[in-house]
Symmetry: D2
Subunit: 439 residues, 4 copies
């Protein structure tokens, strides 16, 4: 279990002036810490349209503060560089013309160093702003600044996901950080157990005071039949049994779109696995190493997760089941193997506890629920309102966080989402069962 490093942690409750300033510094520092092992060349590459270059992430989160905070609050606001406004806008159509996403990797300038300068300038202006605003103005801005923190945290995770993809395509098998991991296999967890939940008319969604994204609202009721969840994530060893049983060759386990996808792209194993002389290897941020059967499987798509569940005679949890179960067990406590552990990879489940293990951290868990607005959802006003709502189409909800999630970012009501074919996020599988009406 993680004990978050004090310096990295974004304590979520300090919204007074000092708290804001310190938390601003902490979140900004953490981004630079993650980027530090990466050369200017590493930071430049966009290895596929979904991936953004490291230096783009570093600049984009800075642009967020410049655009949504400084531009409105500084009396004589002047952009650090006019052109940065559309180079580092991501998708906020309301702000202005954006630079075509798949072309981010052709923009060599500003370079990694210039982006550092941009960050420093905006940091000075942000800290100065926080220090000099009167209380009322600061209070009005605090929500947007807070959103900037969580936005930057999301890009911290993306930065790691993306550089993992970049390095994966290099035949030199480069390492992001640290020594190549030891290859002694870890102790395998025993068989998964099941934890039962009663269901009924339950409440999900954000309901407290802390920070949340708009998509976690409104809290509302759903009716659940009794169900049970596996007490740990599916392991690599179990996934190998699925493969050995023709998992990727037998159409009867697959959604039609998934079956088409695996034919088209020739999938026969999780994303970062490659076979060499009969041995399965896995690309990780610590380098390439043998697949360890004890570890949770990761970098599988929703299609694969769903097929695995069909093969196992089970199903994926709904997001309401997941959240209800997590609240039952943990309340709103969150702990797990996340980024400050610096494992950069899911870890074994440990000994059974009679409770759900690995709920937070390790791997984002695919649910069987489409990412749709909660009943009564309203996007926020203005450009910030584009944050979440417009992505509510053809994506699936994931819950819980992963080993790349920044400390303090995950929540019991947090809704992550990706298209069902995405494999570069650190995604895994928890099985569910039950949930049918009595016959």
């Amino acid at each position: 279990m993680s004990t978050f490093a004090a310096e990295d942690r974004l304590a979520s409750t300090d919204t007074d002036r000092d708290g804001l300033r310190e938390r601003y510094r902490a979140v900004r520092r953490y981004t630079e810490k993650l980027a530090a092992p990466l050369s200017p060349e590493d930071q430049t590459v966009q290895s596929m349209p979904d991936v953004s270059p490291t230096k783009w992430h570093r600049a984009h989160v800075t642009w967020f503060f410049e655009t949504f905070v400084l531009a409105g609050a500084e009396p004589d606001f002047k952009a650090h560089e006019e052109t940065y406004w559309f180079l580092f806008n991501s998708y906020y159509e309301g702000v202005g013309p954006r630079y075509s996403r798949p072309m981010r990797g052709v923009i060599s300038r500003p370079g990694a160093h210039d982006v550092g300068v941009y960050r420093d300038v905006v940091d000075d202006r942000m800290v100065s702003l926080i220090d000099r605003l009167d209380d009322g103005s600061l209070t009005k801005l605090a929500d947007t600044i807070e959103l900037g923190f969580h936005h930057e945290q999301q890009h911290q995770e993306l930065l790691l996901m993306d550089i993992k993809h970049v390095l994966s395509l290099n035949p030199l098998r480069p390492v992001y950080a640290g020594e190549p991991a030891l290859t002694e296999p870890m102790a395998a967890p025993g068989d998964a157990g099941w934890v039962d939940f009663e269901g009924g008319l339950v409440e999900i969604g954000h309901d407290g005071d802390g920070f949340h994204f708009d998509n976690e609202l409104p809290a509302h009721q759903q009716f659940l039949l009794p169900y049970r969840l596996a007490d740990r994530l599916v392991t690599n060893g179990e996934w190998m049994q699925f493969m050995a049983d023709g998992g990727y060759q037998r159409h009867e386990f697959w959604l039609s779109d998934g079956w088409a996808k695996i034919q088209e792209e020739g999938w026969s194993a999780p994303y970062y696995w490659t076979e060499e002389d009969g041995l399965w290897l896995e690309h990780t941020l610590h380098g390439t190493r043998p697949v360890d059967p004890a570890l949770p499987v990761c970098h599988v798509s929703h299609y694969e997760a769903d097929a695995y569940a069909s093969w196992a005679g089970k199903r994926l949890p709904s997001e309401a089941e997941w959240e209800h179960a997590a609240r039952q067990q943990e309340g709103t406590q969150v702990s797990g193997n996340v980024a400050d552990n610096q494992t950069w990879h899911p870890q074994p489940a440990g000994a059974p506890t009679g409770k759900l293990r690995q709920l937070f951290g390790d791997c984002w868990e695919w649910t069987g629920t489409s990412y749709l607005p909660y009943p009564g959802f309203h996007p926020a006003e203005g450009a910030v309102g584009e944050y979440n709502g417009k992505f509510m189409s053809s994506q699936m909800v994931l819950r819980g966080g992963c080993a790349l999630t920044p400390p303090g970012h995950a929540r019991v009501s947090y809704r992550n989402f990706f298209p069902p074919g995405a494999r570069w996020p650190m995604t895994g599988v928890r099985l569910a069962d039950g949930g049918a009406p009595a016959a």
Copy 2:
């Protein structure tokens, strides 16, 4: 409102020997009736990968009976033509290698006449089988034969949707049937009204004895907040207001995927609309004619329906809301403007009634619900089990039926589904409101 023609109607309750035989004959005859106005050339064309040639539809529904009924029940079964087995298999991976879908339009032989022969042969064998089986065997087969009826009805609607698409690409503006419709505009319905529903813990899904697809099961409870539905479909006239207000140019109304799609494909109006000298024309099965503001808008995608709802400050109904409302109002009665009316097009709503108008027929109504399995859903065993479940990914549910739906096919629990970008089905929009938890 339609009074179904007795000869076309598939009475849904007769499952005894005589009933099966007569209903078999009726459903088969109706397919041929729909294909009759089409030349061999018309029946050959596949105008895009989603469309199938008319003669393919005629053969494929025949193959269904041959494969799933005759092959198991005839003692010395021999396929009419071995090669037809994979030419006319659609997507049943369990049956054998299928012929690549986008290539259906290059198969000139068997021609329209040969397909007629194939139909006659299978019909003779089917009728003979129904006549000679002992009661027990017939009872065991009755469900599959019944499924064959409803399968053929689905393809009857597809046949019309598909040929509408084929003819739309012909600059000669050909007509499927009848005289080109008169162009006098119809009387516009007044403003839409709203019908309120209380919600609560409601039951949806098929629960009676009649025929149903596997995806309508199991009946189960959902919790709904109070909501209201518009009492008629959105009209062409209202849609023109949306267009005039920049509906297709203002990103703030659109889902991100939808916005990308309309940029990519240059959408600026419903699918079959074209502008000529400042006048909007609409391609219909009766030919091209001016868009009539009184008629329901049709052939809009889910993206457009959702954008329209955003523009109107409303939303789309959930499928549970739709079904609950329909059951409240109609029970399980179904009537409306469907295929036996031979309008081949949605009709005006008529005068307000204080109730929901146009619930069945006219246009399939997009819901805001993703097409997912109901809690406890299990696909049927065997190849027939591929019928529905495997399509439960990245599609949206539609409810109610359209002017091309065969008489007797729609149901209150019927779940139709298409990807959110589909425009060639006859799809329209009913607005919803409410449904948020009390603040």
Copy 3:
């Protein structure tokens, strides 16, 4: 060797009124004769963008006479159908907007029968025009009418090439004409011999009075070193040796574009060959049958022809060498296995004669020469000027004709051309050697 059927032959010298009328009727009748075995469905299909439907060919050649002859010569000209003007324009940008080429296969109407009516109407008007024009006017129109004959002949060959492609995609393995050919292998020709030519400053290009396309002009001099040509076409048997020696797997034989192409598309044999249980089968217009080693290889691309020549330590002829050799040997005589033989397929070379065999007919012979304008080439004035010149880019010259070429169409100066990757024309290989300056 062919003796052309009198009724099919287009005697190329009769340009007086009676001659024009009879030749008009002959060329028009021959098109219908070729289309006669094809059903309306066959005539509708476009199996790839390069292929046109049979009924489109039948209509397009009719449109040519209507547009380039009737429209200018009939006093009160009125198009048979206005819409046909752009439906059946092929590529004449000067005439008006054309209908997108890859969409020809979605136009089900006008059907095969309607196209027949169109042909009859234009034929009546053409014959009537020929009969009633004064001598001077007729003389002025004679060249365009003559061009229409040769244009229609080109489409006669295309019609056969195209329907061969259409039928090839049908797993029923349909037959265009006649009984499936006998499968007894023919007697193999002995080893190829060589015929030597001296070269020097030679003249090529059209220089007589007969019909010719603009691309055959002007006749001009080229300097050739001594060279020799194989006295027959490469056979299937020889091609199998190339394949057995890794011909499709060894990059060293291939042009870079060709190597990329065969990787991309997985080529490992000539276009219409398929392997079944260790036996090579070939799709022909007489149906599918075992590859006969005695027959000339056909349906190979320029890339394959070039790779074969490299493997054999030889090269392809230049077009100047081919024409010079043909003139040396045959003068302007043309005879060979062309369409009136109704073999629809290349035939064995027969016994050696000390001369070049198979010069005309059997297979078009790839040359090593790019299709470029002859020195001093000028396209004709007006829309007819688009006939040839604008295609002079990225195509290779072929010489000699094939078994699908209409009788009376080929010439010693005839320049056929296709892109180097084209495989659906009936193309084969004759080797060349020599031609280098003395060391």
Copy 4:
């Protein structure tokens, strides 16, 4: 006119030990000099599949010496890094599996600095080898080393072409070198004159002792009719007249492939031109500046060059005409505006001289000749034999060199080649006329 900087010049005649060593050092130093203004980020980007990253070019030319010289000549050869062998192989299929070309831009490591180390190591080993080989062995290797020089020079030009493309996509409009050029327009040259040549049986191809690529051999005779060439390149001002006269909108000037291309890609001006507030701007290596009518037009494709010539009622020269004319006028002397001028851009033609101006340097000149083997051409043995021959398909010959060509690289017999649609090379247009046989 250029006077080549002594330090940059690759004196082409010194093949003794000292000459080889000094020339090796000079060519290697020049590459680094060209790369010096580029940051590690600049050196990493691949902006389209045809472009390679700067650091890839720097490594690939190094790999050439390592593979084709060191590997065969060092007694205990060991690759600097095994993985570099396929990372930096370009297209030599004979050497081993190459890394997919369009993925060069995702390889962040080795970085720019590591490539510098690689270069230093190979340089030390090369110089040491040159110093210690006995005379006989050195003589045997000299040709390959010499090929390495010219190979590296080709990549020096590519490096500049490629980085020009990379920078062009950056909305910041970055500058490769120097201050942004002054924007005062230069003095326009007067009307182009014509220089006449008699033609006859002429000899082209390399025939002396100096270095040449295999594609320049064998020297051979071609027969030319009398012709004339414009005495300077077409200017931007003349190109603007072409544009104003509908040059990009009138199909009658265009090859069919070219017309399709400009429709598809929306071309309406040379590649690096953009219109802003009615002013045409041009991206150059000195930054973006107004198009100067006095300068030669550059970055036009063969399609555009051919269309321009059609519009002007002229044609492009054949490569034999170009070479014959250049030999007549200059013998084998070469001078012009090439890379050591550091203009990085074509310059105005200067005053008329009665002779051909701008023959070498400024812009590569499109010819009307396809890139095909000369009669009797044989590729070299071994992997080096892949150098040129396999590209002889669907490309057009260019002659003369450009402002990015390294000093000492161009020759009167030099054959450059690109596909007809290529626009990122620095290509321009010289018109030709005459060359038709007497009527």
